[in-house]
Amino acid sequence: MAEHIKAKGGYCGRILRVDLGAGEHRVDPLPEEWPGKYIGGRGFVSRILYEEVPPGTDPLGPDNKLVMAAGPLTGVFLPGCGKTHFGAKSPATGGYGDSNIGGHLSPELKQAGYDVLILEGQSADPVVVVIDDDKVRLEPAGDLWGLGCIETEKRLKERLGEEFQIAVIGPAGENMVKFACIGHDFGRQAGRTGVGAVMGSKRVKALAIHGTGSMPVADPQGLLEMGKRMYQACFDKPAFSEWTPYGTAGVTDWVNEVGAFPTRNFQTSYFPEHKQINGQRLREDIHITDKGCMGCPIPCGKYSRAKVSLGECLVEGPEYETIALLGGNCCLSDIKEVAYANYICDDLGLDSISGGNVAAFAIECLEKGVITPEQAGMEWKFGDLESIVHLLQLIAHREGIGDVLADGVKMAAERLGKGSDHYAIHVKGLEWTGYESRFAPAMMLSYITADIGAHHNRSWAITFDVARGREKMDGKAERVVELQHIRPLFDCLGICRLQWVEIGFDLEWYEKVFPVVTGINYTWDDLLHVSERVWNQNRVYSARHVPGFGRALDQPPARFVEEPVPDGPAKGKMITQAQIESLLDDYYKLRGWTPDGLPTKEKLVELKLEDAARDLWGDRK
């Protein structure tokens, strides 16, 4: 495989850098070898952070960089082409951080003529970064600072025009809450790893992007033909008409039936009231209309209206992860209340996954006497919407105990002490998502080895556990490695994976369409090889930035190896620490890593990451 290939399409060939401290910008050429070596999106984010954000950088200081990148398939005539990748050194974990978002941002960036936007330095005052084709400027945002995400986006659309695509932070980002997100399109979020806090640290309230150029494509006629066939293939799938009405919320009942639903701060894995917060309740009780990203034939976005005791809201969602973490994990048993808590998170600019985790952690800490009633200021209870909203507000504004909780469960537990680390459900500082995995070895391994911390979308392996036997350990590591290359590849290509994973779209399509768009004749294995390269690069990045990184941090929360599931379909089940270590042994061996979980020099050289090999191992073999 020859990586130094000049792409004929798929890329604008330009990186836009905005120096917020100096108030200047410049355009750099995209290095010619990057498309072949890193593909785009996540791959470009990974490379830029590796080259430009060295160990020792304060994630919330001026030397961190917020990178936004498109992929070669972003914005072209293909199903699911609306994806954008954000990345930065994570304030939540101290290691590699990224988060993906749907909508229309990166297509607009490419139409403006850029593959990548890099925000550097820090502005003295709040600003909006306005990109209007070649015209780039910083506009004062003092009047927007303090506003919620939804109002901010609305005002910017009114001020600049509907044609601008907007990305915003809310009060949580301004206050550098370590799980603050970046919002876009009135309800979509780049939610994870605290990218919103990094944007807030730079005092950037919003990005506003408008472009009028065309998408660069190697074979436009070929793409037209291929695009038509791919859309038709989506429509022809039997799942097409059954999946769309519920979106991701449709999985709620199934996750409960297999005993994997986060409940009561992950104390158990079955929520008896799950049928009150499932996809059917969403569809029948609060749903208004569907909403898709650019080019999407299977819109997973569900616009909803909900009226509860605290008020009324219009919100995109809730999708499954929000139902799991704000619903089951906080024990909210009314879909309207889950939707309202979702709206509060969206408007404050909080990741609803970490938000639900931290709220549940705080309630358990109050129950167990770690947090006092005086610190809490009210009697927080599981299942009580007022408690959840009170907590989210305290956190977003860093008020009182909210200032401690705003750093996420890991750092909060370190400050609170009193054994509260037992209630902190995270990996490497990133809170766990919607699949309780005490009885799902492949899913457990997926979480503890994910490159950003406890996240499900790098390897969603729970169906593999169910299909191949949940007691079994054999073959689980192989499956996780395979998925960790396939799924993040979509984030490099800049395209949504839901067409593949949700309605059974054939992976072969992506191998076929990649050369049509880029002119680069990669096989599927070549593409996976790039994905493996990016995975290893991120591993080295975090190993160099996070003290003690490796096997010692590839570990589940204590609760998951000390407390068997107390009730529900997985009652009595728990993966042992010995089984965890055995899974890690298999996993590291398959990856060509040391028993401590670090990529070997040979593996890095094989992947043509010579600088990473040198940085990690020096002259040692």
Partner: protein
Amino acid sequence: MTYGRIEVQVAGHAREFFPGGRDRHWVDLAGPATAREIIEQLGVSPDLVMAVFVDGELRDKDAVPPPGAILLLISPPSGG
């Protein structure tokens, strides 16, 4: 002697766990069988299936499809 033939369609990613990774299968039955039993007959855990449709109607896994029916099996979505 067979009771009847059922067409099984697998929607979504779970198809990879069915024989040959295919999304269409035909099962010959010796007698009435539930959707759950038909899925097991294909060598797959019924837990892997999120929802079952018989001739376009949402049913539970204990439903008995009539001969000639199309049994549509829905994979669990992977969450947002």
